[in-house]
């Protein structure tokens, strides 16, 4: 298990380095946006990683409600925390990209708004965990995750309709319209690298959580032993 972890970590490191090299050196400079566009190789893979984390959280939460295994709860917690971090990075790198390109830090357009709402839901999830006793937190959190899971389609649908009724203050078009093959190549490498990276961090956080559970259990057992 430990060897697998080390191998996985090294593979992630190699992929991230290669992705960085592809993004900064190999990929051509974008015609209109210039070097700023290179944040694309960081911003979008992070968004993908965040959504991957939230998907893992949803599956683990439902699994926990069905089987009540502490491991699935540890996976749910780990993926939610890591997902919030990735999502935060997306929400920070987005404006950094938007300011020089669109001329504004933030616009309430469909994709930005729904990412923000998703972030809010998962921050609420972490808050709920933080303020629940350790015995109740897994159940309450898993229940909230199910609500979040059912809420996501409503969020996307409502915000999309809400926004298409208004003119968008956005000048640039979609970045996928006619992406240069070298750019697409660099992007895909980064996508793979960040998928590995997300899984690695979830794995680390998961191991930490399992250790915490073991410590807590040991404490509880000792307390019981002292009383007897």
């Amino acid at each position: 298990m430990k060897n697998a972890f080390v191998v996985f970590a090294l593979a992630t490191l190699a992929l991230l380095s290669y992705g960085l090299y592809m993004a900064l050196v190999v990929a051509p400079t974008e015609a209109t946006m210039g070097d700023v566009q290179r944040i694309f190789y960081y911003h979008v893979p992070n968004a993908w990683a965040a959504f991957l984390c939230f998907a893992i959280n949803a599956v683990a939460s439902i699994w926990y409600l069905l089987k009540r295994g502490l491991k699935s709860d540890a996976i749910a917690l780990a993926s939610a925390e890591v997902g919030v971090v990735f999502c935060t990075i997306v929400l920070i790198t987005g404006p950094i990209w938007a300011k020089p390109v669109w001329g504004i830090w933030w616009t309430w357009d469909a994709r930005l708004t729904s990412t923000l709402v998703l972030w809010l839901i998962y921050v609420a999830y972490l808050m709920l965990r933080r303020f629940s006793s350790s015995g109740r937190a897994p159940v309450l959190a898993a229940v909230l995750a199910v609500f979040g899971f059912f809420d996501v389609p409503f969020v996307y649908l409502s915000i999309r309709i809400f926004r298409t009724q208004h003119p968008q203050p956005v000048m640039g078009g979609g970045e996928n319209s006619g992406l240069d093959p070298v750019m697409a190549h660099a992007f895909l490498w980064n996508l793979v690298a960040f998928t590995f990276y997300a899984l690695l961090v979830i794995w680390m956080r998961y191991r930490l959580q399992i250790a915490e559970q073991a410590v807590e259990e040991a404490h509880a057992e000792r307390a019981l032993g002292e009383r007897a």
Partner: protein, 227 residues
């Protein structure tokens, strides 16, 4: 021993809650005064003209009602917790959902009364006059009420189990309710301004109500027994 029927327990609990409320008027008084304060503060904050107010009224009404609803929702389970009623309920053979349905219905009635009393106030304070048909506002009001109350009652049962009880409810209710809020505000604004049809938003609210009612009923027992 056969367990008592769902409807019988729901009716008994609902009658008890309504009688308690009728005699104390705790929830309705605090909600009403709170909503009134929010309305007055909004008037100072935005100082709207009649034309403007028609455009922003949808947002104002629902923000005021949302905040006031949280006041009532927070009191939902507090009484039962104090006298260990929830624990008694857990060990009884009564179906868990009866408790939930009766609490949700009680809150629905409280908020409906609040809406009924607040509506004329909005009309007077913001000199509102609806361009679209008013009956649509009634439909939106009922659907929106249930959208807030069904999840709110559920999350209130969750948040009383946390350390910071009362503050936890809005923290989990608001993010989940964002699509419903968007729908109720947009639908109300469409009716008031008569710009376009509120049909899509009313449908969205109705589907939201159905989906989350099912989710709440499916998971309430899990939350009630969470230890």
């Amino acid at each position: 021993m056969t367990s008592p029927s769902l409807t019988a327990i729901t009716r008994a609990t609902l009658a008890k809650d309504l009688r308690l409320e009728w005699r104390s008027k705790d929830a309705i008084n605090s909600m009403l005064f709170f909503a009134l304060l929010v309305v007055v503060i909004f008037a100072f904050a935005f100082d709207p003209t009649a034309e403007e107010s028609r455009r922003i009224a949808g947002g104002l009404i629902w923000t005021a009602l949302l905040f006031a609803t949280v006041v009532a929702l927070n009191q939902t389970w507090a009484r039962e917790l104090r006298n260990n009623v929830l624990d008694a309920y857990r060990v009884s053979p009564a179906p868990a959902n009866a408790m939930f349905i009766s609490k949700a219905f009680a809150n629905f009635i409280f908020v409906a009364v609040l809406q009924f009393l607040m509506a004329p106030l909005f009309v007077v304070f913001y000199s509102l006059r609806s361009v679209g048909p008013v009956w649509q506002l009634v439909v939106i009001g009922l659907l929106a009420n249930w959208a807030l109350v069904v999840n709110g009652t559920f999350f209130a049962a969750m948040s009383i189990r946390t350390r910071n009880r009362e503050i936890m409810l809005p923290l989990i209710l608001f993010p989940i309710s964002i699509p419903a809020l968007l729908a109720m505000v947009e639908a109300t604004t469409q009716v008031l301004t008569g710009d376009s049809s509120p049909r899509f938003w009313i449908q969205l609210l109705a589907v939201y109500d159905v989906v989350f009612t099912v989710v709440c009923l499916a998971l309430f027992e899990t939350v009630l027994n969470a230890e």
